[in-house]
């Protein structure tokens, strides 16, 4: 092998504390090294040309650059090698800047260290092999999981770009939380007026296939080629026939079901369409409440249905879909506030959640938009809002800020005044977090124009007194305790990850944080990407996000999918594991440890079980390599031999005495 070594000065960044010429000189003595030099700025155009020329002139088949971190310029130098006709993986770098010159002032020691890092790099390079990327086809269909506003936006953008979209929504209708809320901050425009048309677009778009009341059962495969299984839950109604006329709902005698869409503040029939604008607008039977399914008698809906689409025998159905990319947009759920026993939450009828309050204010809600007390139907005159319930509270395991509750509380306080002009509103807050465009002005308006009384402090307890509720909190600005007697208390309940989000994350093979929110590939620079190629994120499944951000991310995720789909073939990263079949004994231990399901079992011609790496799925972590008892599966570019060569280069010196 013929190796060339280039020692970079980085101006004085390296040269000030490392004797670069001496390192270059010393490197000449390393095995296989035929050329060494030191240069001012290796990454500059002349620097790169020097490498290219040296490769040609000295017939180098490998290059070591000792300079800054490979995280900085590895890609740069790999391209330079390619331009000189070498394989890009015949490059090794020694990090003599971040790891040497910048962290130590002793030039002598730095120089030794720099040299040793160079010798490690040379030792590794001597074991390198050219690696070549494979090309593979992309299925240009995308799966969108979750039909909240983020998912809807992503789906519409992809569909408009001409790609097929499969949308899977867990509930009976798409729309997510936004479909439940009344008006939206900071413009206070009607939520369903802006979301409704988008929902209709989803149902009518020729490129979108929607599975509601469905969940993703399984995802296999890899970027460009995912196989997805979707469980369509039994609705007991043939949706191809159902016209959404609602005749069944009118006649169903079982009327005591908890109305999930209305957050439990009202009841609904066992056969139900959750709300008039539901998409798809189809009826479904709640088997727990249905007299026919529970006791075998009734069948009224089947009798009245004009299209005869009731089917009590219906079963869950598994559908398989092939897609090339996945967008997760599963949103959030509300914190279970009943842990706050001191608030009587879940116990006192007039202590309700913010989302329940949205349903109360909503013109299409169960009260037709009249704000009334659940206990006695009276109009409340004093409404107290309590912020940060289940947020910013480490004692209940929720130390994070839910981000949007300050804003929606201000909105709800404003709307309360609009609905009930002679009412008074009080807001207990810790801080007001309103960093969006026009947001702070909005919370100020609540105070200045609407006279909402903001009190800075947490609430310690709420208890009933007569037919009102005493809310005892503090006003730390006044420096003392305060008490308000309220007719209605609204808890600004925090956001937590969607139910079973971790299980879904595991199906998608992406990471999630301590709270079950999905993890971005990089919190700043890759906010909609994940560590698994081909899986993207949108909206509040990453953490609490308001509507503008969720929509923005829906579009961003769609753009990433389109970028992916803009190529007909994808290139795989060749730094993946590969199995030496003659060594492999087929124990499949590697497969059980691989976090990405990248190893499958195959049988060779002699009928022996062998492991095989699906190159496109393998992410190159090397966990399998360590697991294999035979050393049969080796992560390319980080093989046992390569790493041991580095270890030896580093330690052998001492044994040489």
């Amino acid at each position: 092998m013929r190796i060339g070594v280039f020692i970079c000065h980085c101006g004085s960044n390296i040269a000030a504390t490392v004797d670069c010429p001496a390192v270059a000189e010393q490197a000449k003595g390393l095995q296989d090294v035929v050329f060494t030099t030191d240069t001012m700025y290796t990454c500059s155009e002349p620097g790169q040309n020097e490498i290219i020329e040296a490769i040609k002139e000295h017939k180098l088949d490998g290059v070591v650059v000792a300079s800054c971190s490979p995280r900085m310029h590895e890609a740069t130098f790999r391209r330079a090698l390619e331009r000189a006709g070498l394989n890009r993986y015949m490059l090794e770098m020694a990090n003599i800047r971040e790891h040497v010159s910048w962290i130590g002032k002793n030039k002598e020691r730095n120089t030794v260290k720099a040299f040793e890092l160079v010798s490690i790099a040379v030792a590794k390079l001597r074991n390198n092999n050219p690696l070549y990327a494979n090309k593979f086809d992309v299925t240009k269909r995308v799966l969108v999981i979750g039909g909240g506003v983020a998912g809807i936006q992503a789906a519409l953008d992809c569909a408009d770009a001409g790609y097929q979209v499969v949308m899977v929504e867990r509930e009976q209708s798409i729309g997510g939380k936004m479909a439940k809320i009344d008006k939206t901050f900071p413009t206070v425009d009607c939520s369903s007026c802006i979301l409704g048309p988008k929902m209709v677009d989803v149902s009518q778009h020729e490129n979108i296939t929607l599975y509601a009341l469905s969940e993703v059962e399984k995802i296999e495969g890899y970027v460009g080629n995912f196989d997805v299984q979707v469980r369509k839950k039994a609705t007991y109604v043939n949706w191809d026939e159902c016209t959404g006329c609602g005749a069944c709902m009118e006649k169903c005698p079982s009327k005591k079901n908890i109305d999930k869409f209305n957050e439990g503040i009202s009841k609904c029939t066992s056969i139900n369409i959750p709300f008039p604008q539901a998409i798809p607008k189809k009826a479904a039977i709640n088997p727990e409440g249905c007299l026919m399914l529970q006791k075998g008698k009734c069948g009224v809906c089947a009798k009245v249905c004009p299209t005869k689409c009731i089917d009590f025998e219906q079963k869950d159905e598994i559908i398989t879909e092939k897609v090339g990319a996945v967008i997760a947009a599963t949103g959030y759920d509300m914190f279970d506030h009943s842990v706050y026993k001191q608030y009587g939450a879940g116990q006192y009828p007039d202590v309700i959640t913010s989302l329940q309050y949205e349903r109360l204010m909503n013109a299409s809600g169960p009260t037709g938009g009249h704000i009334i007390r659940p206990s006695d139907g009276k109009e409340p005159k004093k409404v107290v809002f309590v912020q940060c319930v289940g947020s910013r509270d480490p004692s209940v395991g929720r130390p994070y800020c839910s981000g949007f509750c300050c804003m929606y509380t201000a909105k709800q306080a404003i709307l309360t005044k609009d609905h009930i002009p002679d009412s008074d509103s009080y807001v207990f807050y810790m801080d007001i977090r309103s960093p969006g465009k026009g947001y702070d002005e909005f919370t100020r308006r609540a105070q200045e124009q609407y006279g909402v009384q903001y009190l800075r402090g947490r609430v310690s307890m709420i208890y009933p007194k007569g037919d009102r509720y005493v809310v005892r909190g503090s006003d730390t600005l006044a420096g003392t305790q305060v008490e308000v007697e309220a007719d209605l208390v609204v808890l600004a309940v925090g956001a937590e990850s969607a139910k079973n989000a971790p299980a879904l994350a595991e199906k998608m093979r992406i990471s999630y944080d301590n709270y079950g929110f999905f993890m971005e590939a990089h919190p700043k620079l890759k906010p909609v990407e994940t560590n698994t190629a081909g899986v993207y994120l949108a909206g509040s499944c990453v953490g609490p996000r308001d509507i503008p951000t969720s929509v923005g991310q829906g579009s961003a995720a769609a753009a990433k999918v389109m970028t992916l789909f803009s190529k007909d073939k994808l290139e795989s990263d060749p730094q993946v594991s590969s199995v030496n079949t003659s060594r492999c004994i087929g124990c499949m231990k590697c497969a059980t440890t691989c976090p990405f399901g990248a190893i499958k079992e195959v049988t060779d011609r002699a009928g022996n079980v062998k492991a095989e790496v699906i190159e496109t799925v393998c992410q190159g972590c090397g966990i399998c390599t360590v697991t294999c008892p035979q050393g049969a599966i080796q992560l390319q570019h980080f093989t046992d031999n390569q790493i041991l060569a580095e270890v030896n280069a580093l330690c052998q010196a001492q044994l040489d005495f």
């Binding site: 480490p394 004692s395 402090g457 947490r458 609430v459 730390t476 305790q481």
Partner: protein, 189 residues
Amino acid sequence: METIPLNSPDREFIREVQERSGQNVLACYQCGNCTAGCPYNFAYDLSVSRVMRLVQLGQREAVLKSHSIWLCATCQSCTTRCPNSIDVAKIMDVLRHMAREAGYATERNVKAFGDAFLESVEKHGRVYELGVTATYIRKTGRFWTDVDLAPAMLPKNKLSIKPHEIRGKEHVSEIFKRFRERDAVKENS
């Protein structure tokens, strides 16, 4: 109102409170929940969250001379509900210890009552309620404010006239003695 000079916060004070209470006072984010739930707040001069704040700011004097730390009844409301799981009641307790040690007694009657109670325990091994009352009156010069209770209590034999002496009362009084000796040592060093 006075300006609090922050140039030289009493870090030793902060450290001592933290060490003796085992609580991280820096974890307090001033939500006011402790104040909100404190049943004694109406009688306080400094609400309990302000006490916490002043401790954070290293304001020894302001804290140790406050009335609040004497009035706190260790009802545990603050401790139970603090979002940051700070044992606030324990901090109040520790502040009271420090105030005693430093010679503050802002609520004389509270201190006198405590002292009278402990004297009784020291003497008899158990509390002798009438004795406590008598000592308390002697210390404060206040006639028993509860004389109006006597007609209700006496006929029911609820106040025993004689102290309950225990056999091991020496043992108990020695506990006090050793405590004072140990304390004296501490003060000298």
